[in-house]
């Protein structure tokens, strides 16, 4: 569901405002730990650990490498066993492994090459996400202990997927959106997240998208659609800071006739939904005076970010109107 244009636009329509760069003197605070972790049905957990930094911190590679935590101990308790996670760091990967890591994580390969980025997972296949199970994550890093729990809800698959022209330009018969039909179960409290990726090759011979990409606004709950069967779409998401042509021209946000699109549709818990919802609002409204400033509300005790259990279902559609 597209976000409606903020009223800020109304202002710019009506008034010619003047804009200038200013220096803002902000207080400095102690860095906090930020968790970005998921455990998906049938998959091992995957966790990145970073730190907050001052809003106007320098943006050199050195400064960026400061935000990634490379030292830490993580354990997951699945209700039966406590698993100690394995750490994988880009600094110790071969070029081939870096390519794979970039595809799997969506982290830019240049960043992986320049900065030692570590992720925690379980390599031996003894910890794979299961529906209905609760996972407690404990992290020791930077002299702090932080923790979180998440539960993987039931899988709720989409009924169907199809492509429909968006006709944003009159006569355009190639660009469109992927639509889906969902039958929401008759129990209140279901929440969903949408990911998609284009499997077909782009002009460079490589698949157009590597990892699944969630659009910025990617979650919804059944508060208004409980028990209904309804149609919806999401715009095509792009990687953050994408400089790809098709993310900066008319194709931005849309799929193209002939694209093969894999959709990952996940069910997630209420706190997890709250996080991605508030995260999207936070990212979209940076400095927007029409919105009340609000933090992304995560589920990490003692830190920021999210530990999310995903109940995933996959489907594919070929873009033919």
């Amino acid at each position: 569901m597209k976000r409606l244009i903020p009223p800020a636009l109304l202002m710019t329509v009506l008034l010619t405002a003047c804009e200038k760069d200013i220096t803002v003197d902000l207080p400095t605070t102690e860095p906090r730990l930020v968790v970005e972790g998921t455990i998906e049905t049938g998959q091992p957990p995957f966790i990145l650990l970073t730190r907050t930094q001052s809003y106007f911190a320098p943006t050199s590679v050195q400064s960026l490498s400061d935000i990634y935590v490379t030292d830490g101990v993580m354990t997951i308790f699945d209700g039966v066993t406590t698993h100690t996670l394995d750490k994988l760091c880009s600094g110790s990967l071969t070029e081939e492994q870096l390519q794979l890591a970039a595809e799997a994580t969506g982290i830019d390969i240049n960043l992986l090459r320049q900065v030692n980025i570590c992720a925690w997972t379980k390599l031996d296949g003894t910890l794979l996400g299961e529906v209905g199970r609760t996972y407690r994550l404990d992290i020791q890093a930077d002299g702090k202990s932080i923790s979180s729990t998440t539960t993987i809800p039931s899988v709720i698959a989409l009924d169907s997927l199809w492509f429909k022209l968006a006709e944003q330009d009159p006569g355009d018969d190639s660009l469109g959106l992927v639509w889906a039909r969902l039958a929401d179960p008759d129990t209140l409290g279901n929440a969903y997240r949408w990911f998609a990726k284009r499997l077909n090759a782009g002009p460079d011979g490589q698949p157009k998208d590597d990892p699944f990409i969630a659009p910025l606004f990617s979650v919804f709950e059944d508060k208004f659609v409980n028990g209904l069967t309804f149609d919806f779409n999401f715009v095509r998401g792009s990687q953050a800071f994408s400089s790809a042509d098709d993310d900066n021209n008319a194709e931005s946000g849309l799929f193209k006739r002939g694209d093969t699109v894999a959709v990952k549709f996940v069910s997630l818990g209420n706190k997890e939904f709250e996080f991605y919802n508030s995260f999207a609002n936070n990212v979209a409204s940076a400095g927007d005076l029409f919105s009340n400033p609000a933090n992304a509300v995560g589920n990490i005790e003692g830190g920021l970010g999210i530990w999310a259990g995903y109940a995933a279902s996959l489907d594919t559609v070929i873009c033919v109107p």
């Binding site: 329509v13 943006t59 409290g189 400089s243 005076l289 933090n295 992304a296």
Partner: protein
């Protein structure tokens, strides 16, 4: 509070009883009117020449003097009018009507703030200011549009919401805590175009009174201030008109007698035409093709004087803002956003005897907002509103020379439409069963006495008993700890959902030190049963009025104030210093991260959090009342804080309208007969805003971490505006054909050009700050820039006004 009331009530009764039994006296009562137009004059002084004691005319121009039998010299004085002196020998109650004649001298035009002869050192009221609207046109204004609410912002203790905004904040109170009355009907949203213009068309308004402290008991329902606006009644003698053509809007007003000297009318309209002007310059295919914005206002009033004892008034206001946005591409969203107010007031004045004056008003107010958007097959509608029907009875009673009593009652039936959302995708209507309407009864009874305890000590003591009852039909959701509905409690039609009854004590006193100086002190407490909930940091039409409920407790405001007042040079200069402390309870805010669309399928108050606040400050005021150069200077030092357990981790934070320093200077200068000049200057401490302190990344996207609510100050706000007005000659020569004599006669047609410069030295005042991230972290060229947006650079304007 209860203890205060216990002491107050018997005291009131005691004083009343004592003085009623005092002595025999006769009354002199009647009306003060403008001789040329028949308009009644508000606040004219009527006094005894020998003792300098007297009273002033009320909102309907009515006055009463209670005097001992015998000869008296009575003076009617009003700034801009000739004094009217009558000698009487009082043997019985008599009626007097003063028909005041305007002074021939031109200086009148340039008394920016019509002083109305009200002596600031004399009355018990504190923090009360009258503004004579007809004298504002020579002051500079944004786009040349005279705006009475923006003029009010120049007064000490009153703060604006930043650039170009007509919203005002009084002594630390929120925008919802101002009671805005147009002929006694409540106006809920007093602004057009996101606050840049107020809804009051100055051509149709006769008088404005702002009470920012020491609110008397006849007003209630709001805890910070009262802005009482009286519309003109219309000329009783002959048809007149006035109007203006400005850069963005035009105005036209017609007034005249319906029955000469008995009934009159006034009709006034205004419309902006930016949309019409802009249309040729917007290409149909451009991003804004098909978009448009306009607003219009219509004011109308009629009155009929049945007899000396009875007079009827009917007045109304209707205004709408309409914004349309149609994107250039079929896939773009389309919006239609209309909103606006309507008010209607029917009044009946009746004089029971010289000492008892009745005003009964039936009122209707309506505020509606709709946001209608469609995109692809989605349609989204958000609407909200409030509708009031009310009846008010006010009695003014002047039993003896020392007492002036007011008592009465009020009833309002509120009908709220809280933020209601409908969403549809194609034919599937999403299930958003918000309560469509909320109903409530509000009542009040009050009594107050303004009396002289000694020759130097005057007291105004009053009490107001107010009640508020939220009634069904209403469905209240029963929510679990996750905020999900687990059931519904149904309240039947008329069934009580929640109710409150409160006593509101009001007390003020004036002690006269000498002829030119006095001290005053006041204590008052008020209850407010309606609340404005806002999702954004500026006043938007999306702001929603919601009633008190079982969760939302009535707001309570308690104010203590004291001041010293002194006039110099025979009242030519007026000065005052006032200090106040104000405490707020049961304030509401939306929780951090609340979104309008989350109001569906839950209680309308589910996203609210509750807190307290306080404000204290000192206000300094110097005014030169008349002369070629006149105007005023005001300075306020104040501090306004808020505390909410669920906001800012429970820590106290500066309110959005906390300004440590606030200074304003208003000057008018008239060197000759045709040219006049106006200048205004304002300075205010920068607005407190919330900025992110830290950043982090999730899925590669930049996330902002906020730590302190309103922890950052934008740059200070200051601005100088200038205006110059050139009037045509007021007289012409006429040659008598028969005799050849040349005489000078007054022109019926008057016109003037007002040239203005807004923001004369082009100060880039901050309107808001936002952050712009550019580059890619992976490429090492990522950076975040802070950008400050200023709305108006130097803006010239020209307006042509006419009168006939």
């Amino acid at each position: 509070m209860v203890r205060c009331v216990r002491i107050l009530l018997p005291l009131l009764g005691l004083l009343l009883g004592l003085s009623l039994a005092a002595q025999t006296s006769f009354s002199v009562s009647g009306y003060v009117k403008d001789a040329a137009t028949g308009e009644t004059l508000i606040g004219a002084n009527v006094y005894i020449k020998e003792t300098m004691k007297g009273s002033s005319s009320n909102t309907f121009g009515y006055f009463v003097l209670n005097l001992s039998p015998g000869p008296h010299t009575i003076v009617m004085s009003f700034v801009g009018y000739e004094d009217d002196v009558r000698t009487i020998d009082l043997k019985e109650d008599i009626k007097l009507t003063f028909e005041a004649r305007t002074k021939a001298i031109v200086a009148k035009e340039f008394e920016v703030l019509g002083e109305k002869g009200k002596d600031n050192t004399e009355n018990t009221q504190m923090g009360t200011i009258d503004v004579d609207v007809q004298k504002l046109s020579t002051l500079p204004a944004l786009f040349g549009e005279v705006d009475i609410l923006k003029t009010i912002q120049f007064l000490p203790g009153v703060k604006s919401n930043g650039e170009g905004n007509s919203g005002f904040y009084v002594r630390g109170g929120g925008p919802d805590q101002n009671l805005i009355l147009l002929d006694d009907a409540t106006v809920y949203n007093a602004s057009h175009l996101f606050g840049f213009f107020s809804v009051f068309n100055a051509d149709a308004v006769k008088n404005i009174e702002l009470i920012k402290g020491g609110m008397p008991a006849n007003y209630g329902g709001r805890i910070s201030s009262v802005l009482d606006i009286t519309m003109k009644e219309g000329n009783e003698k002959q048809i007149h008109g006035q109007g203006g053509i400005g850069l963005i809007a035009s105005r036209l007003t017609l007034e005249g007698p319906l029955v000469k000297d008995k009934a009159s009318f006034i009709v006034s309209g205004r419309r902006t035409y930016v949309d019409v002007l802009a249309k040729p310059f917007i290409k149909p295919g451009s991003a804004f093709g098909g978009s448009g914005y306009y607003f219009y206002d219509l004011n109308a009033k009629a009155n009929y004087r049945l007899s000396d004892k009875d007079r009827f008034y009917l007045s109304g206001y209707f205004g709408r803002d309409v914004f349309n946005f149609v994107g250039s591409d079929p896939g773009d969203p389309k919006f239609r956003i209309p909103w606006g107010n309507s008010t209607l007031a029917a009044r009946w004045n009746h004089v029971f005897g010289p000492k008892l004056f009745l005003n009964t008003t039936a009122t209707y107010s309506d505020y509606k907002f709709l946001f209608d958007a469609t995109q692809d097959q989605f349609s989204f509608k958000l609407f909200s509103g409030i509708r009031d029907v009310g009846l008010k009875v006010d009695l003014s009673h002047y039993p003896t020379a020392r007492h002036s009593l007011k008592y009465g009652g009020q009833y309002i039936f509120h009908n709220y439409t809280t933020s209601t959302v409908t969403v549809a995708s194609g034919d599937t209507e999403f299930d958003i069963a918000t309560p469509p309407k909320l109903y409530a009864h509000e009542t009040a009874l009050y009594a107050m006495d303004d009396f002289d305890l000694t020759d130097d000590l005057r007291i105004n003591a009053g009490v107001r008993l107010s009640t508020f009852t939220h009634v069904g039909p209403y469905d209240r959701y029963i929510l679990d700890e996750n905020g999900r509905s687990t059931g519904v409690t149904n309240f039947k039609n008329g069934e009580k959902v929640a109710g409150y009854a409160r006593l509101e004590p009001r007390f003020s006193l004036r002690y006269r030190i000498d002829k030119n100086s006095s001290v005053k002190a006041s204590f008052n407490q008020g209850q407010q049963y309606v609340h404005l909930a806002t999702f954004s940091s500026v006043a938007l039409p999306t702001d929603v009025w919601i009633p008190s409920s079982s969760n939302v407790k009535p707001q309570v405001g308690t104010q203590y104030a004291a001041g010293y007042y002194r006039d110099f040079k025979d009242h030519l200069f007026e000065t005052s210093v006032e200090g106040y402390y104000k405490d707020f309870q049961n304030l509401i805010e939306y929780a951090e991260g609340a979104q309008p669309q989350n109001n569906g399928n839950t209680n309308y108050d589910a996203q609210l959090v509750y807190g307290t606040g306080y404000s204290y400050g000192a206000e300094f005021f110097v005014k030169k009342r008349t002369g070629k150069l006149n105007g005023w200077f005001g300075y306020t030092w104040s501090k306004t804080m808020r505390q909410f357990p669920d906001i800012n981790q429970g820590r106290e934070f500066a309110s959005r309208w906390d300004r440590r320093h606030d200074l304003s200077l208003v000057l008018a200068y008239e060197p000759g007969k045709r040219w006049s000049f106006g200048a205004t200057f304002v300075y205010a401490t920068g607005q407190a805003v919330t900025l992110p302190v830290n950043r982090y990344f999730i899925e590669g996207r930049l996330v902002s971490e906020f730590t302190d609510r309103n922890g950052y100050r934008m740059a200070a706000f200051h601005r100088l505006d200038l205006a110059a007005t050139l009037s045509n000659k007021t007289t012409k020569t006429k040659k008598d054909k028969a005799t050849g004599d040349v005489t000078t006669v007054q022109k019926r047609w008057r016109s003037s050009w007002t040239f203005g410069v807004y923001n004369a030295y082009n100060r880039m005042n901050p309107y808001f700050i936002f952050f712009d991230a550019a580059g890619n972290p992976a490429d090492g060229d990522f950076q975040v820039l802070a950008k400050q947006v200023s709305l108006f650079s130097v803006l010239p304007s020209v307006t042509w006004n006419f009168k006939f």
